[in-house]
Amino acid sequence: MENIWAFLEQTLAASLTAAVLLIAKRLFLDKLSPRWQYGVWAILALRILLPAGLLGRALIPGLDVALEAAKTGAESSLSSVLTDPYGLTEVLAPIPLVRMVRPVSVTDWLFCLYIAGVAVCLLWFFLSYLMLRRQVARGRTPDREVLERLEEVAGQYDLKLPRRVVVLPGVESAFVCGPFSPVLVLPQRAVDDKVLLHELLHLKYGDLWAGVGMCLLRCLHWCNPLLWYCWNQAQNDSEALCDQRVLERLEGEERRAYGVILLSMADDRYARAPGTTSMANGGRNIKRRIRAIARFKRYPQGVALGSWCVAAVLAAACLVGTSGAAELPEQWAADSMSLARARMNRATTVAGALDTYAKAVMEDSPIYMMMAAPASEQGKLLRAARERDGLEGTYPLEPLGIEKDEGVQAEWVVYNLLEGADGNYTGLLVLDAYTTWFAHSYEELQSVAVSQPVRIVREGDFWAVEPLEDWTAVDPECTLVGRPNTVLPALTYTAQVEDIWVELSYQFLLSVDNRAQVDDTSFFGEYSAYRLDTVPRPAALFTNYYRSAGGRAWEGEEEISLNAWYAPLTKEEAKAGTLPDEFGHSSIRTPAEYGRSGGGVGDASGSDWQQAPTALAVKLEYKGQEYTCIAWPKEVAP
């Protein structure tokens, strides 16, 4: 937890789990045994130790959106050093992560207060434990007969003895103290064997350690009263379970006598200290335990597997939650929840970033753009969305003479998308208005598409698009930008074998199928039509690719003609220098121009290629000899 919002998210998740467990425990109070009642608190402990929102899952879908909206609302006017108002709240660890910076805003100070609270709480528990140990150290060794009775009880029930046994004046009931070297503390008055058995059972089942764990978890969420209440309940359940264990070892009248002993403790004071267990834990708790003892024989038998299954479902629900993907915002929404949804739906794939960016610029929607823009742009876009302004800069189809309010749609395709050394991508984004607009009103020598070089940068788990230049009209000669052509650029891959130098031009187009089928009815009956989907798909994969190759070759200074077969290589294949066994039919006879011919593949679930090939495996045939080599991109630019 790096800031107060991360703490809020974590403590909210813990509170929801606590509420679910309290309801479940109430429902199964007289149906499942004290073992189950105590055991399910492990789910709450795990929930507190697991970061909230892990794997993008939530306990209540939409709660994270509300928290994000509240955070941006509060933080956008502050200048917190610990919180990015436009970044996503992420719980990196279940404990507070301290950053050595000077707090600036009220939320920074609140987080500091929280950290101080954790420290004070830890210190308080530690000091109270130390004080108790000091008191215990002053205790005297009990009489020989008491020790003999203790040994007898331990021997009878096959239990370990504590390291030390002391009698402490002023103590009202027996307790065990210290998880490392346990000391059994006895009051001055005579102690019943059943009380000794109770305390020895605490030692056997490691309840002291569970108590220490609960104290630490209390400290982590010191300001959450619901969790304090739950840990009080858990400690009481621990005592109730210990009662159950005692009763399982006793017979007939002894059980009744045990209940009477508990009743006699109902008025004892209960001073909780970490690393201790005490049979007398307050009047109200004792009453609950007596009620549990009354149910001892009434718990349905033979339901162990059933209770495990119930606990497994509770654990799955509270620890993993449900897939909490936030809904996409409306294109022109300006409310804080929609703005939060936009930030929570930032593009997670390169194709998703390009799809979202293209649709944002076409729809002139700042809220869509927030999903594909770098973090540095988020504040500006948020303000634009709130004020219902459009995007800055020219409308992309303006170079074609199309105005924004004409409502023209355009398909997008990216050319030559290639990964750079820094892991980011560059490509040429092209918006094609032909199929939706010019198909009806096309005049010769009129541009039908616009292009813009873009960079797609990784920002944590997200991808953002940075335009490198303004939109420009594509040469009118090209009327079909969605297919390989000779007008738009290609990547150049080069290779040298002996004194033969080859330069392959490889045009690689990638796109996402954005056609959506619409069923409609007309006078002639029902029909289906396709329209372009204008809603961004921030997690899209490229579904279509087209490729076309050309090339030239030289021997020394002289250009030559040869046959070249080529096969695209992935990053891994290129690094390993893997050449294919068979080169297939993809070949050219140099010199050849790219864009004249080519092929493509479409796969609705995501095509094999999500970027241009890192390199090309090449087989050359020249003067009856065959050469193989790997051609690498000459430049990483659109």
């Binding site: 679910v20 349905p300 339901v303 597997l305 479902v313 509270c318």
Partner: protein, 185 residues
């Protein structure tokens, strides 16, 4: 009604309850798929059966509140589908999880009690207990956040196991009823 007739009637209701619970026959109503063998009917039948058997099995009355809760939950879901085409409960994940917990416990305990009832009459009920265990494990497994859609084969196997489990359960309950109430119409 004699004790045996009462027992027969109660077990018949439990059998029909499980038939309604596991068998879904969906019809298109208002463009939605509606189960004409609604699950809430199961809980009406179970409630009635518990009333008939509560003197015989000590733990059975403990199930009454759960029976009512599950009946209401199923009724709300059924009405939701009838009116809006959506199961209302699935929208509230944590409430839904609690309902699943209750249903696991309810079915487990119900079959445990029926098995105890049968064993009192010196009839072997081990198979019924095994089916009960399988049913609880399957119900819990379905709630685990595993990629069921991607694990098609496992999903199909589990669905088949569920069908086999239902058939076995109903078959074993019918056998238990016939053996417990020999000679009673």
């Amino acid at each position: 009604m004699t004790d045996t007739q009462q027992l027969r009637s109660a077990l018949t209701k439990i059998i029909w309850g499980y038939v309604f619970l596991y068998l879904d026959i969906n019809l298109g109503v208002n463009g939605h798929s509606l189960n004409v063998l609604p699950n809430w009917v199961s809980f009406l039948l179970f409630f009635s059966a518990i009333g008939l058997l509560e003197k015989e099995v000590r733990d059975l009355p403990l199930l009454k509140p759960f029976c009512v809760l599950l009946g209401i939950a199923e009724g709300v879901n059924w009405l939701g589908v009838l009116l809006t085409g959506e199961t209302v409960l699935y929208r509230f994940y944590l409430v839904y999880a609690l309902v699943i917990c209750i249903s696991i416990y309810f079915n487990f305990q119900m079959l445990t009690d029926v098995a105890a009832l049968v064993e009192v009459r010196n009839i072997y009920a081990g198979a019924l207990r095994a089916v009960r265990n399988g049913d609880a494990v399957l119900r819990a497994l379905w709630m685990l956040p595993l990629p069921w859609q991607e694990w098609e084969v496992l999903s199909i196997l589990l669905a088949l196991a569920n069908i086999v489990m239902c058939l076995c359960m109903v078959g074993l309950l019918i056998r238990a009823r016939n053996m417990c109430c020999k000679g009673t119409a």
